[in-house]
């Protein structure tokens, strides 16, 4: 059964420059135990839709036009602020991008960890303290007892992100959402954090939504990848087929703009032409069409629905064209002078 199911979610922002269509008719679901990697560039709606479904979107200027988000039999969009608050931090944990500013600088780490625990559990006194120490220990912070009475500035970036994960995991949430959680960290620390999350998933069976713009992170962590662009899903499916057999020109462009690991090929990195769409005036059809060298006339005119492709179940793409056929035709043309 799906743990989270988002239906027809549309989010807009009212700005002085007009209405920005941040998320457009988004539909997807996350199975219990699954790790979903959501990738996309800035402005693709990947963070905004998560904030919207947790009720964290600043309104105004944000506006949830329509949509349902079913979490464990409850529609998050219809819950009162009070009910939503008891889900946030309790059943759904969140980890944000910047560990440098996500912790309150004037409160000790222990104080902040305590807050989430007292808010959502009945632990008190010694049991509470023991749980706090245990949590810091789980996320791999040495000398947890001493660390509890320290302030955030006494922690390194990686250690602070571990604290954030400890806070996110404190009440054994069923869903952990990480928004660019490793982006602000350097590569070695990033690898440690990914290991930690994989370990936690293994130990606690938590469902994870990992939002990032880094394809490498998704490849390492996720079961399912979902590529977003212009507030829509462009392609979605199990990680392997999406990486090896991309069906959306956008996914293909992203993968081709990554350097090949270890290979010393002299291939020039692909560059996706154009610039991100102006979402206050989005293209009428496929949002990626203006930057897509393979776009057909229909792409410019009509929004493509998400359809099944390939031979792996769950692999879907929103495109009017057939990318493998187009790529084959292109390479044939290059070979015959």
């Amino acid at each position: 059964m799906a743990l989270l199911e988002i239906k027809n979610l549309t989010v807009e922002f009212d700005t002085p420059g007009g209405v920005v269509h941040a998320v457009n008719d988004l539909n997807y679901s996350v199975e219990a135990g699954e790790t979903l990697g959501v990738v996309g560039e800035s402005g693709s709606g990947k963070s905004v839709h998560i904030l919207a479904l947790l009720g964290l979107l600043p309104c105004p200027p944000g506006r949830i036009v329509s949509g349902e988000a079913w979490f464990d039999g409850r529609n998050l969009m219809a819950l009162s602020d009070r009910d939503l608050r008891s889900i946030r931090g309790g059943e759904i944990g969140m980890v944000f991008q910047d560990p440098m500013s996500s912790l309150n600088p004037v409160l000790t780490v222990g104080r902040q960890l305590k807050e989430v625990l007292t808010r959502h559990t009945n632990l008190t006194g010694r049991a509470l303290k023991a749980r706090m120490v245990e949590l810091l220990d789980i996320v791999g912070i040495p000398h947890p007892e001493a660390r509890l009475s320290q302030y955030p500035h006494e922690f390194s970036g990686g250690m602070r992100q571990r604290v954030m994960i400890a806070i996110g995991m404190a009440c054994n949430p069923r869903l952990l959402i990480a928004d660019e959680a490793t982006t602000a960290l350097d590569v070695t620390v990033q690898a440690q954090i990914l290991d930690l999350v994989r370990q936690l998933k293994h130990d606690f069976g938590t469902t994870v939504i990992w939002i990032t713009h880094d394809m490498g992170v998704v490849a390492e962590l996720a079961d399912t990848i979902q590529v977003m662009y212009g507030g829509r899903i462009m392609e979605r499916g199990p990680v392997r087929p999406v990486f090896h057999d991309p069906r959306s020109a956008y996914t293909w462009g992203l993968l081709n703009s990554l350097p090949d690991e270890g290979a010393r090929t002299q291939r020039r990195l692909y560059q996706i032409p154009g610039s991100p769409p102006d979402m206050s005036n989005p293209p009428p059809g496929d949002p990626f069409a203006p930057r897509n060298p393979f776009a057909t006339e229909r792409c410019h005119r009509e929004v493509p629905p998400l359809r099944d492709v390939g031979n792996m179940p769950g692999h879907k793409v929103a495109a009017w064209y057939d990318l493998p056929a187009l790529l084959a035709a292109q390479s044939e043309k290059e070979q015959t002078p």
Partner: protein
């Protein structure tokens, strides 16, 4: 506490301010036990007697001289400090609580509350504070309670403005979103997450305000709208003594010096306190 003193001993200015403040407060608190001459009883045979060290411990000595009706200036200074310190600190704390709460509310909630409060501040800032104070005291009558209220009234706007500006930047910080993401309510965020972050600026404003309010209290007394005679007050002593400035300098010099030293000690100590409360400069306990 030991950490506090250890840290304090490393700052010469902070230590100086702290010791001076402790001495002033101790003198004020212990005034009834000091066997000083009655500050309200004059001795016309000893009018405008100059400061003298002669017979310092004998009952009739006036180490800082006497005023125009022969009252002992040292005794009046010490007794006067009780009133000044009590009035000023009550007013600053009162104004500080009101100003901080309203500043947080305006900054975090924004919208109508923010506009309303800030217009109120603007209006009040457009009226000279002294004029406002004179008006209110003249209307309500000069009593200790009214002086405290009026000083608090002139004080809250400074807190409110500075705290609001701080909150405006704080509320956009990620830790506020993190707090919301763990299910904290708006009130909880305002007073558990934002408030500790603005205590340091509030404290700094507080020390500046205490200094300002002490001077303003003296000014109100000087104008005859403060604590009423015969209760001694520093501002009143200045007012009464200014006539004799050329012939009996001690009548105004010592009350003036008392105001200067008190304000200076508060400022020096406040400066150090700000550094002390900043977690970035504070080392692990």
């Amino acid at each position: 506490m030991t950490h506090f003193l250890k840290d304090l001993s490393r700052s010469r200015a902070g230590l100086f301010g702290f010791v001076l403040l402790v001495v002033i407060v101790a003198l004020a608190l212990l005034a009834p036990l000091l066997e000083l001459p009655d500050p309200t009883r004059g001795d016309l045979r000893a009018r405008l007697a100059g400061p003298t060290w002669e017979g310092l411990f004998s009952p009739g000595a006036h180490p800082l001289g006497t005023d125009e009706v022969g009252r002992d200036i040292l005794s009046r200074l010490i007794h006067g400090s009780r009133m000044t310190l009590m009035v000023a600190s009550t007013a600053v704390v009162l104004g500080g609580i009101v100003g901080t709460v309203l500043g947080i509310l305006a900054g975090y909630k924004g919208g109508f509350i923010d506009r309303l409060l800030m217009r109120l501040v603007d209006i009040q800032l457009a009226i000279p504070l002294m004029l406002l104070a004179l008006l209110v005291v003249a209307a309500l009558g000069p009593s200790i309670r009214n002086v405290v209220l009026v000083l608090a009234l002139t004080s809250w706007i400074r807190y409110a403005r500075i705290i609001r500006a701080q909150v405006l930047s704080l509320r956009e910080r990620e830790f506020v979103q993190s707090a919301r993401a763990i299910g904290a309510s708006t009130a909880r965020i305002m007073f558990l997450h934002i408030l500790p972050n603005v205590l340091t600026p509030a404290l700094v404003v507080g020390t500046l305000e205490l200094a300002r309010v002490i001077i303003m209290d003296a000014a109100l007394s000087f104008l005859g709208l403060g604590v009423q005679p015969p209760t001694p007050s520093w501002g009143r002593m200045l007012a009464d003594g200014r006539v004799y400035l050329s012939s009996a300098w001690w009548t105004v010099t010592f009350p003036g010096l008392a105001i200067v030293l008190t304000v200076l000690s508060v400022n020096l100590f406040g400066d150090w306190l700000r550094d002390y409360f900043d977690p970035k400069t504070r080392s692990a306990k």
